[in-house]
Amino acid sequence: MTHPLQDLMRDSLDHCVKCTICETYCPVAAATPLFPGPKYVGPQAERFRGIGPEADRSLDYCSSCGICTQVCPQGVHIAEINNQARAALAQDRGVSVRDKLIARPTVAGWMGAPVAPIANWTTSFGPFRVLLEKVLRIHRHAPLPKWAGRTFQNRTRSRRRAPNVRAPERQVVFFHGCAANFYEPDTAAHAIAVLEHNGLEVIVPKQGCCGLPLQSNGLYDDARAYVRKLVAQLAPYARAGHDIVATSTSCGLMLKREAREILGMDDDDLRVVSEHLYDICEYLVMLDDRGDLRTDMQPVEMTVPYHAPCQQRGHGIGTPALELMALIPGLEARQLDSVCCGVAGTYGMKVEKYDIAMEVGRGLFEQVRASGAELSVCDSETCRWQIAAATDRPSVHPVEILYRAYGLG
């Protein structure tokens, strides 16, 4: 399959001057010699690919964090090249049952949600986790979220309104992602409360999975099908002029960028959705820039460590969470200077990658612990689960801090 955009990604290897800056930033190459680095597996190895059997091995250790693309001063789409090469590898060699399973959060979500207490007991039950490791090769200590029982979709049925074409600027569409649906409905509910506090009407249409885990596990065709279905659900709102706000920074990035740049998709629904899609912190800062953000915040006397996760950085919007938290009296948010927590979606769950992921995140965990703060702040759900498990204290979405400052709960 060839696509002009995919070619664009691959052809960006022409910009590589071998400077190795990507490798100085790569968190995985810093943690393990098994991964020779993004330049090596990316623009360098790509010149030797395309004909005959796939020669790669080390490529599998790339976690898809995407930092290489972000830092490359020459404009090489390193992470995208690597992602596409890994998908070719998966096609060549097959995808394991485990990867197929963890790539479908909705499957696990629906299996666990109705029987949440039992499901949560089993996944926290040591012997079951050993079994899970043996059978499915999911590491016994990998952080797994807790099922919430009733899904967020179920809780918000009343918000499934049609787009209001006459006053779209007073309405926003909320794109919650699978994690909020099955595991963190409260975060999503608090995000809605913050938006409503700012005078916005929040619509929560029926929506599915963005396909990101499928993509990161090399299952591109399935991922494309998920994206198509999801953007068809969201596109009518975008066409009516509604902005779409996401709390899941990685799912938001999938719709903004990765579906086009990695999966090579190019359809009208996707385009209009991505043009209207905002990360929630990005959106709130934009309100603030316009003078539309309420600043009636109560003091939150706390110093919190903040981690801007890799997928958030992929948005290329700076660190709006820090700008928002700077508005809260009493609060001091300190950005950690570690680049990655290691988990990278599903990477750190895998038995052969778990130790690497923990080594990648080691510096971050040490900084969080050393801060002495009662919690840490991070935009991405899988990163929060990883950081919380590794530091023995909660890690929350920035919108939770805002929710508290607004006195909403």
């Binding site: 001057v17 790669d56 080390s58």
Partner: protein, 467 residues
Amino acid sequence: MISDTQAATECAEESAILRRIAAESIEDTGGLFVTTPADDPAYADRFFAGCRATGVAVQEITVGAALAREPRINPGISRAFEVEDASIDAWTLLWGNARSAQEHGATILSYHWVTEVLRDGDRVVGALARDDRSHEDVRIEAGFVINAGGVWAGEIADMARCPGITVVPGKGIMIAMNHRLVSTVVNRCEHPADGDIIVPSHSVCIIGTTDVKVDSPDDLSISPGEVQQMLDAGEVIVPGFRQARALHVWTGARPLFKDTHSDEHGEDTHHMSRGLALVDHLSHDGVSGFLTITGGKLTTYRLMAETVVDAMCAQMGAARTCTTASEPLPGSQAGNYYWLGSRLAAQEEAMADDQLVCECELIPRRRLLEVARRRPGMNLDDVRRVLRLGMGPCQGGFCTYRATGILHGLGDAEVGRADELLLTFLQHRWLGLEPILYGDQMRQACLDDWIFQGTLDVEHLPVAVPA
């Protein structure tokens, strides 16, 4: 192909032989002939008929099928033909032949300039040569001398006092592009012209070529006009070619044989219609023990050798059967064609055990050491011609210093020579960079300048900067 049916048939036969004896240097890419919007649409039918007439396997495919096979080629093509074709690596082929010759007892003196062809009456009995590195003269006495001097064949024949052999150098430039824009040998279906072919080769693809008659075989200049002509031609075959990254440009010279002696006297040269020319100086000049073989092309190099050696045997009265058509070259015995992924596969295998010296072309330290031990005293261009050192995107930006340090550390080059190796290699890389310096390669050249001049300050090494 249409112009010379016998040559086409011979080419096809030789290609089949090379696939058997030199698999290591061949990649079975297949070939495409496409009629681009810039080509004469009437040519395609003549091309097809010509192929059929000469028994060259050809199949017309749909434009859609051609674009599916090579997605980057011009979507405006109107016709497409698939042919059997392959990409051949001249250096690998050369090393294979050299090793084979050595195994059969040959001594190879590279870097030796022939300064005199020795005569004893009407017989040629050897040659004098000057060692370019030691500056010493070497006298080689021989029962027979074969002049296979390519574009210099006329000069060598003159040294043997066999005048009238004129070899006109047909200079052509080729540009290597940073990665494979095509995986098939893609030709324009048009009268053979400048810039009508893109050949995938190792990690790059090469567009060729111009054809300019020049006075001297040593004229390797590259004019801006020729470069622009190639880029325009590339744009016709692969739209966007000008935005793609050019890595390096070089010239070669085809030996175009012109026998002024026989033009004057009418007959006594045995012309061979295949474009290769054997000159029997016994009949030509009354000189025995001396044959010139020239003309030809890479694909027929073996046939040229067979032809000239058979003629030598005939003159010497030795009945020996040629075996080169059936004996695989060293490295090609297993019969496996070159595979683009082979270096990556090898590097992945050895990752923990070795250091990558040239990252672009994936050359580990071990390979460099092997080559250095086998052939002491090499310069970095020699290493390049064996291993492709410095032939990738950074054009020596990262590997030159490493390779120099390794050869010096081995004791293969004392410090003054090591400095000279480094500066000479950079200078030689520059010659092929300067004419195509634009876009991404300009960025690379600046980074390389930052490395060598900015960080290492190599321009102040205590050696004379090479000319």
